[in-house]
Amino acid sequence: MNVSITINGTVYERDIEPRMLLVHFIREELGLTGTNIGCDTSQCGACTIHMDGRSLKSCTCLAVQADGREITTIEGLADGDNLHPMQEAFWDNHGLQCGYCTPGMIMASTAFLKDNPHPTEEEIRHALEGNFCRCTGYQNIVKSIKAASEKMGG
């Protein structure tokens, strides 16, 4: 099937198999490997991206369902050399260790802050329940998101 998907501001037109998952389109067709695969069963959230500004686990979506949509991946979050405040916050607050969950965490939390720019710690925790981390114990991830929300005027 022919699809036209905008990813990080660039329109990609491809002829793909209908069964192809969006995450495979992103990783294999486009070589954007910042979006990670951690579980294959939609638990871990390592593949979280934005579709039309909303966060989405890209393993739960067929690439054809993204036809005509706008996708942002972790590679498209920074404004050139200027990191997104969430990226800076994860860096500054030791919000990552192995880093494999980090792109998904950052994409999930940036979308969340759009809906709720002034979250409480508990709201942050609820927003992240679909993203697994095996290294940090989550404490510094929550701290990073809190710091980003404050920096962004939250």
Partner: protein, 734 residues
């Protein structure tokens, strides 16, 4: 630079997604590899027909046992065939002993073709009797897995100290328990992946995630029958490890395929493949009996430990060695009798996992200690302070610990920073109020532990570093070569900090060369809480020598240093007498839980962890390790239930094997970082990353007992188990 929370040197690439993990790297013309695994728990393969798979368009090659030059591997004992099946001259390699054995490898133009082809391989099995219970495996008539291990016993360690009869005769109280611990799956977020290829110098090269590049290299060249210099291993970023990448997964087969085909070959395991085909934390059954005088002094401790190694050794004989030492806790006891067995079964192999046998030992030891406190009517902190190891104390193996024994200070710090107050010369617990809801019961628990830093029991321990000082009048650039794996814990950041400190330059001048056997010498594995300790000493040694050369006007000034810590010795086969370790870390934890007696859910409200790290080289990374270890240990104690039925894992997905999410973790983790220098540690640093894992499960069972009056001697304490057990005691909805 020591003591500063420098941000991670790898953070930029990780927050932008640019950092490649093993599955992210591609080479032109690469092929895809898929492994076919055993369909039986124990069987002889009488025939293997690969013709249909080979005939599938797009299939490039199918490799079976006959294609592996030296068809054996294993981190400690080479007891596992690389590929099981007929045609190999390695005795016994035609037998599969576990579902995770590999029976064939397919290489194809695409991943999808390879996946289709592995299913077309026709394997003829002749079933053999199998054994799945570790104690049944020790019986005389049990099926034998390996010819050289009668009764399937890999190792039997003994500790014989003092006079047991005299000890029991002094005991006013005796407590006994049978403790059962379950499997634990590492569940690092990045499933195994890798890329094999021939590098520009003709070396068989594997890009993969592991914990020790030089060990991976050794196992590859051994199996391929190649000289060491013809094999190279490179790690890109590694998506977590926790001991689970210490053994081989995709390394050897990728190397084999790339070498045979002289083309790049890639593979990425699914989560299911990862859970089904790498080792686990050992389930153990521990029989324990301790006696104490009425004033709280332990006078006798007896234990029998059986650990299910699964079908191959991996690091089982080392893991069980640790449990043997730790099953009587960080206490000085005059009369001790311990027998510890590692046993082959047809279950999935078990091996290294954060704590390395320590958590199982501590689960039994600390439960025994808490039960003793109850039996004596003493406070659990108070009774510990009467028994903890101190400077000069003799271990159960008859020798003193290395200097810098700080478990008394650690226990006191944890008590003071949590729920205890000292008064009238004794320790007193201040319990927080109970919730209004009668279904919710709160309780407090305490446990402590110790853990070796570095390889134990005579294993050759070493770490190499090279420091290059470049510049003219002043040092402009420092290159440090240090192979140690950054599995996510932040080792590379600490290498840079320690190099800057040792040379006396800002961190900006330091460049690290690492993760590549072609550029570094061995560092040993990122395990045993050893990397900061070992690499720090090597970096310090190399820096001192390089600075001397710099003063002598050498440009560049280059020095290589091998750090070797004081020798350790193995257990005496009859008495266990030994000098087991050259360094230790000490830890204590207090836990507050809330048990829902109707649903069986255990909510960990707060954990206070006191951990002596010697010197906190990077405080933020230290607390990161404490917080991460606690959550992983909480999963071990409560949630993570890997179910094996006749050797087959029943829940190989993160949808069915549940690890803690952000909503499961303690509401508060309080890290109490003690800095009581280890005289042998670099700048005084101790290893610390495993320690917070060790006492958590028994601290939680103690807290659950405090809340409900019921002892849980089996983990994980899943809600169904909790409800069942509470009902047996007349608690909950009956």
């Amino acid at each position: 630079m020591i003591g500063q929370s420098m941000t991670r040197i790898d953070a930029l690439g990780k927050v932008t997604g640019e950092t490649p993990y093993p599955g992210d790297i591609n080479l032109e013309g690469q092929l895809w590899l898929k492994m076919r695994f055993s369909d039986r728990a124990h069987a002889r393969i009488t025939a293997i027909d690969t013709s249909q798979a080979e005939a599938l368009p797009g299939v490039v090659a199918v490799f079976t046992a006959k294609d592996v030059p030296v068809n054996e591997y294993g981190l400690v004992i080479k007891d596992q065939p690389v590929i099981c099946g007929p045609g190999s001259d390695m005795p016994g390699s035609d037998i599969v002993r576990t579902y995770m054995d590999c029976v064939a490898v397919v290489v194809a133009e695409t991943d999808a073709i390879a996946a289709k082809a592995v299913k077309l391989i026709d394997v003829t099995y002749e079933d053999l009797p199998a054994v799945f219970d570790m104690e049944a495996a020790m019986e005389d008539d049990a099926p034998q897995l390996h010819a050289d291990s009668p009764n399937n016993i890999i190792c039997h360690y003994r500790i014989r100290k003092g006079d047991m009869e005299a000890g029991w005769s002094q005991a006013d109280v005796v407590v006994e328990g049978v403790y059962e611990t379950g499997y634990q799956e590492h569940a690092y977020l990045q499933p195994e992946a890798g890329l094999g290829y021939i590098d520009e110098e003709g070396r068989v090269t594997v890009i993969v995630g592991g914990q020790w590049v030089h060990e991976d290299q050794e196992q590859i060249y051994h199996a391929l029958g190649l000289p060491p210099e013809q094999v190279r291993v490179i790690y890109p970023a590694i998506g977590g490890a926790f001991g689970g990448r210490e053994d081989m997964s995709v390394q050897i087969v990728l190397a084999l395929a790339a070498w045979k085909l002289q083309r790049p070959v890639k593979t990425i395991w699914s989560r299911e493949e990862s859970i089904l085909h790498h080792h686990k934390r050992h389930p153990m059954r521990i029989y324990s009996k301790w006696g104490a005088t009425k004033d709280g002094k332990i006078v006798a401790a007896e234990a029998k430990v059986i650990g299910d190694a699964g079908a191959y050794n991996y690091t089982s004989n080392k893991v069980l060695g640790n449990t043997n030492l730790m099953v009587t806790g960080p206490y000085e006891i005059d009369n001790v009798h311990v027998d510890t067995y590692g046993v082959y079964t047809n279950n999935i192999p078990c091996g290294a996992f954060r704590g390395f046998g320590g958590p199982q030992g501590a689960f039994a030891a600390e439960a025994q200690m808490n039960k003793l406190a109850e039996a004596l009517g003493m406070d659990p902190v108070e009774v510990r302070m009467k028994n903890v190891l101190r400077e000069g104390s003799l271990l159960t193996v008859g020798t003193p610990l290395p200097k810098g024994v700080t478990i008394p200070q650690v226990v006191e710090a944890c008590a003071e920073e949590s729920y205890w107050r000292r008064g009238d010369g004794a320790w007193h617990l201040n319990r927080p109020p109970q919730p209004d809801n009668p279904a919710l019961r709160r309780g407090i628990g305490f446990a402590c532990g110790f853990k070796n830093v570095g390889f134990s029991f005579g294993f050759p321990e070493q770490n190499w570093a090279t420091i290059e000082l470049h510049g003219g009048a002043e040092i402009e650039e420092v290159i440090v070569r240090q192979a140690g794996a950054d599995v996510g814990q932040g080792a590379h950041t600490v290498f840079v900090q320690m190099t800057a400190e040792a040379v006396g330059v800002p961190v900006e001048k330091v460049r690290l060369l690492t993760h590549d056997t072609a550029k570094t010498q061995t560092s040993g594995s990122s395990s045993a809480s050893r990397m900061t300790f070992m690499s720090g000493n090597a970096i310090r040694g190399a820096a001192q020598q390089a600075l001397q050369l710099w003063q002598d006007e050498e440009r560049p000034a280059i020095a290589t240093y091998q750090y070797k810590p004081p020798k350790t010795t193995p257990y005496h086969p009859e008495t266990g007498e030994s000098e087991p370790n050259f360094a230790y870390g000490y830890v204590a934890e207090a836990v507050e839980v809330e048990v829902d007696i109707e649903t069986g859910h255990i909510h960990v409200i707060k954990v206070v962890c006191a951990n002596d790290v010697g010197v906190a080289i990077n405080p933020q990374q230290i607390t990161g390790q404490i917080e991460g270890a606690i959550v992983q240990a909480q999963g071990y104690a409560i949630m993570e239930h890997l179910i094996s039925n006749e050797g087959k894992i029943q829940n190989p997905f993160l949808s069915t094997y549940l690890i803690p999410t952000v909503l499961d973790v303690p509401t508060e983790v309080k890290s109490v970082v003690l800095e009581l220098a280890d005289p042998r540690g670099p700048w005084g640093a101790r290893g610390m990353a495993e320690m917070p894992f060790i006492p958590l499960a028994p601290a939680i069972t103690a807290a659950v007992h405090d809340a409900t009056g019921v002892w849980f001697d089996e983990i994980p304490m899943t809600p169904d188990r909790v409800v069942t057990k509470l009902r047996e005691h007349g608690i909950g909805i009956l």
